[in-house]
């Protein structure tokens, strides 16, 4: 069974239809790169997947759990699906360690000491073990973003969603975050990334999804699709971002 199944979903803000008949199936271990113009609905799709936005039609199923169902415990769902935002959204009043342990200790009922071990481990994965007791405002943007990734990893999710996580970073800090993504890709994590990093999408994406005006306009193997777009819209889009 697929890890994620998006089945003909519709998402409206008022009368504005933002996602229209979107379907997507993701198997465990896949890395999906989502690209598209600003306003095409990329962020909204990610937010629907972990239940931050309700949908008006269709069905989303993650690991057998139906997202848009009242009976589903969203807390359970969100242990399976991590999301990292462009603006990091770390908790500024909590240390790095506490940022990471907050959810596991509250939700999984583990002790603070166990939590700290987990924090140490996930920080190691993002190369920031020494920042365990720092506060967010003592870190650079790239470091904050890596902590945000570590915070999500601490819940041991099966699926990770990344929404343009390098867009707010200076070019020289982008590399360190992409490196973390690479390592995660190699370790077999299932990921959906909204990204403008075409190079990354080409090398690590197992599949590419191109969104246009609230629909998936084109979808296919990442490298091939980028090399030979089948639709005019994707060609135009690539022309605009690559030049």
């Amino acid at each position: 069974m697929a890890l994620l199944e998006i089945d003909k979903i519709t998402k409206r803000f008022g009368t504005n239809t933002v996602l229209d008949d979107v379907s997507l199936t993701v198997d465990a271990g896949e890395i999906i790169a989502v690209i598209g113009r600003s306003g095409s609905g990329k962020s909204t799709m990610l937010r629907c997947i972990n239940g931050l936005e309700p949908i008006q039609g269709g069905r989303i199923t993650v690991d057998g759990m139906q997202v848009n169902d009242k009976a589903t415990d969203l807390r359970k769902l969100r242990q399976q699906v991590g999301i990292v935002f462009q603006s990091y959204n770390l908790f500024p009043h909590l240390s790095v360690s506490r940022n990471i342990t907050l959810a596991p200790t509250l939700i999984k009922g583990i002790t603070e000491a166990e939590g700290r071990e987990i924090a140490r481990e996930v920080l190691q994965r993002v190369g920031l073990e020494e920042k365990l007791d720092a506060y967010p405002d003592q870190l650079s943007g790239g470091q904050q973003q890596r902590v945000a990734i570590a915070r999500s990893l601490a819940m041991r999710p099966k699926l990770m969603l990344f929404d343009e996580i390098t867009s707010a970073l200076d070019p020289e800090l982008t590399g360190e975050v992409l490196k973390v993504l690479e390592d995660m890709a190699k370790s077999g994590m299932t990921m959906i990334l909204v990204t403008h990093e075409m190079g990354f999408a080409r090398r690590f994406g197992s599949r590419l999804v191109f969104m246009h005006e609230g629909r998936i306009r084109e979808e296919g193997p990442a490298a091939a699709t980028l090399a030979e777009p089948r639709t005019q819209e994707l060609e135009t889009f690539l022309g605009a971002v690559l030049h």
């Binding site: 972990n50 931050l52 969203l74 807390r75 359970k76 769902l77 969100r78 242990q79 991590g82 999301i83 935002f85 603006s87 959204n89 770390l90 908790f91 500024p92 009043h93 909590l94 907050l102 959810a103 509250l106 939700i107 405002d137 915070r151 999500s152 819940m155």
Partner: protein, 216 residues
């Protein structure tokens, strides 16, 4: 019997301040509890609860404190409570403080970016957990300066309890005036005592405010 306004009278005034402070403290605690509920109702995502909070705040903030005091004073007997000025004052001032503190604290909660709630949600925290662990700690820091500022308002406004016969600083001033016929000296002293209490708080509130804009 008419006598000179002397040091003994000043001492009496100083002693009367304990009732000003006691009433302030009572209202601050009572109003704080109400205010907390109001603020949380306002940020809850349930509109009837929000509406209740809005109505409460609007009604209390649109009514003179003097009216509140008198309504409670004369309402006590209707609900079978003893008609005592301090009961009426404690109730009226708590209700009043609840509206203002609720509004101040809601403002602080609202000032925390929506993305902080969302980050909590995304990690699987429930509404209460987000509020308690993510939003409140940040909001409290922001809320302290205006809360101290309101405390000054509250101290000053407890003077109105004098009108229903609660003997605090201002009422003691009226009594002293009646026996000394030196209203100017007496009321200046009273004002000075209020000033001594309020001014340091005002300064502190300003200091805190500057601090929260400082290098973070």
């Amino acid at each position: 019997m008419i006598r000179e306004f002397g040091w003994v009278d000043v001492l009496y005034l100083v002693f009367a301040m304990r009732w000003t402070l006691a009433l302030t403290a009572t209202a601050f605690i009572g109003g704080g509890l109400i205010g907390l509920v109001i603020a949380v109702l306002r940020v809850s995502r349930v509109w009837p609860l929000q509406a209740i909070a809005v109505l409460y705040v609007q009604a209390i903030q649109g009514t003179p404190l003097l009216v509140l005091l008198f309504v409670f004073f004369f309402g006590l007997s209707i609900v079978g409570l003893p008609v005592l000025p301090w009961i009426a004052a404690a109730l009226a001032f708590s209700i009043y403080a609840g509206a203002f503190l609720g509004e101040i604290w809601r403002g602080a909660l609202d000032a925390i970016p929506k993305t902080q709630w969302e980050a909590g949600s995304a990690l699987g925290l429930g509404f209460g957990e987000q509020l308690r662990h993510v939003i409140m700690p940040q909001a409290i820091r922001m809320a302290i300066p205006p809360t101290v500022g309101f405390l000054v308002q509250l101290i000053k406004n407890t003077s109105l309890a004098a009108t229903i016969g609660f003997v605090e600083l201002t009422r003691e001033g009226q009594l002293t005036t009646a026996s000394t016929f030196q209203p100017f000296a007496v009321y200046l002293t009273v004002a000075f005592l209020y000033f001594l209490t309020c001014f340091p708080l005002t300064q502190w509130s300003r200091h805190l405010e500057r601090r929260s804009y400082g290098p973070a």
